[in-house]
Subunit: 461 residues, 2 copies
Amino acid sequence: MNDLRFTKDVVDAGLASAMTLADQLATMQAADAVELLNELELDDTIGIIAEMPRDHAVLILDQPELHSAATIIEALPDAAACALLDAMSADRVTDIFHELDEKVRDRLFPGLGRETQAALRKLLRYPPHTAGSLMTTEFVSVPANWSVAQTLQYIREVERSRETVYAIYVTDPATKSLLRAVALRRLITSEPDVSIMSVGRDVAPVTVAPLTDQEDVARLFRKHDLLAVPVVNDGNQIIGIVTVDDVIDAMTQEMTEDTLKFGGMEALNKPYMQIGFLHMIRKRAGWLGVLFLSEMLTASAMQHFEGELERAVVLTLFIPLIMSSGGNSGSQATSLLIRALALQELRLKDWWRVALREIPTGLVLGSFLGLIGVVRITTWQMLGLFDYGPHWPLIAATVGTALVGIVTFGSLVGSMLPFILQKTGFDPASASAPFVATLVDVTGLVIYFSIALVILSGTLL
Amino acid sequence: MNDLRFTKDVVDAGLASAMTLADQLATMQAADAVELLNELELDDTIGIIAEMPRDHAVLILDQPELHSAATIIEALPDAAACALLDAMSADRVTDIFHELDEKVRDRLFPGLGRETQAALRKLLRYPPHTAGSLMTTEFVSVPANWSVAQTLQYIREVERSRETVYAIYVTDPATKSLLRAVALRRLITSEPDVSIMSVGRDVAPVTVAPLTDQEDVARLFRKHDLLAVPVVNDGNQIIGIVTVDDVIDAMTQEMTEDTLKFGGMEALNKPYMQIGFLHMIRKRAGWLGVLFLSEMLTASAMQHFEGELERAVVLTLFIPLIMSSGGNSGSQATSLLIRALALQELRLKDWWRVALREIPTGLVLGSFLGLIGVVRITTWQMLGLFDYGPHWPLIAATVGTALVGIVTFGSLVGSMLPFILQKTGFDPASASAPFVATLVDVTGLVIYFSIALVILSGTLL
């Protein structure tokens, strides 16, 4: 960190030329160099990258964490930009092309090498959040009739141009169909003259399709402890690989999206401070408005009970307490089930087992809160802290009973919502705490007033 | 899946002996075999593992996804159990030892090989959630004066006993201090007779300390695209490595914990259906009770305004609507800031920049909701759907103004809470949506009634 700070101060003071800075950056981890570049003015960053040895510029541009990579590429002379793009990993070039204007894409494309062009044509067509959009076309595959020595020799020749040689994919010489994945370390420890097919365990390799969702890809990595997974077409021919670093980035992105959705807003695609004010308002106003409109039903429900309210204003004192308890128990159940479904601990067909668990859970939790509520009302009344009127035991009974009903209802609704979303084709993680609270609030009020009508009828009501 | 189903049916029907099943499992991916074993009765699983060739049993037991691994080890004859433990990866043996009873540990320990004993002594002492608790002691390190050929020869000798040879760690022959990490693929493509120090970029390797938090370890993996990171002591001597598969498991575990905490409950350490009923109640009742007690302040606040409530029952109609809007905007802001802090997009010192952003954001969002509220009241009044009384324009003004105040307050409180938690040494991700809602509810009521007092004083109040 001290080094970084020093370098930045030097830049700020105008004491270092882009060239000496480029030299300094070459001695750092690429990711640290990127962190430093991100803090500089964009023009300075462009100047520094233009001065760097090409190998190092490629290392820097290959980091997804570099801000404005597309703008940097666009600002460089076309020939230099194309040379860098040709040397970068294909999946990263695809990300950058996604961000470039159509005009700039058309200008740069003809200057790219044939291999890069072919990779771009292939990779640009996969939708985001799929294995195809995460994969790179740079992998090592060899025919099944090669020996270990032949394979090692081949790797030595191509290693420079392959992002990641974690495994070697062995294909049928005739059909090109994928037969086996051989770990690099297995290769090293094998006799040079044996067949590549004799290396490692005789097990069909784990594969994904190009349209497999990135969450499912991550699940496979977790389950099988993979470093890379081959992406195969319908003919089981390998068309690319997804590497573990891209899976970790995808997991982090999904985690951010899920947290924001659970918090009741649309996912953002940029860091907090980099989002424009109006853009931020839009991402938040949408759900806030929808929740507000739904929550208006509480006003309608209350209007319906206006007569009761006027006769027993004391009932209103507990409305926030009772409603929030329903929302809280619902939020707990939703968070539990979102994760259980994401981890595939439970399947859609298990919904009734969950319902049968949540109802008794809700009854116990509701009785627990109801008891606290009754004790509170009794205590305040006995100590003379507040006068709930002559019928205070009935008020206490109403509050206690309503809590049992509402917490049970909240637990049930909160636990079923993720199942309903999954069943209807949505991501269970789209369920948000505010949404559950809103669902429970309206019904909660109706439960509360209905119980009040039964218990207080003939006395207060 | 069909294969799995078939195998399970065969077991259920009692048609297959443990031995033929063990043979079948040997042809599967280890993770798939584990999935199947997890569905069987524990006694069957123990029988099958006892029948397996040792190599394959080790593969199975090495999967963290296998349920009840400790119970299985305990049920096997001591000699067999020790032989398996000796062959397993050290980090996994440590996990299993953590789960074993002290008595069983003491019984098995003397039967283990010296290397396993040494690893256990070292690894058992690190607290959970640290790099030390994730690391394994099985790594390859060579002195800096070796050649590439010597290193390759050494890897061939030790590969069988090393979980993961992703990188070779080069140490100073005198001090044993870590000098360089060399990727396996670089080694293969280098000339055999050059020094190991000449391979790869001359950059200090990324390292962590044994007590580094697992979240920070995950951040380093993400930033530097690592497959493994060396864990070093104060003397920069390597004591173990953390591999990417363990980091992915840790990330998944953190994500589950954070989601449950954000949902307002304590983290669980087992899948939903495997948790005992009472255990589940305890994990949920704690926070639910705390939130309920805090939310009781709303009843106190309402009691304080009882006089106003009796004079203007119409005000109560909007209490749920107004309170939930404050909670929702707070929940949005909290989810945003939890992620921004987790991704280190923002630091503690940035709190005031966030506050300066959230206040105008809250004002705009609050005005938006306030406007909807005013339109709603006006429309219902005009269309004769409900009669808010002769002072309905003042009621509408009260609701609209209160929404601006409460949404702004909610956004501010929600965004500051994660900073406050981080500042006081807690995880910002401990902030939960229900907690924010509760914080905002009490103040929200006070804001609402205060505004009502100002606007309606002399008319309704």
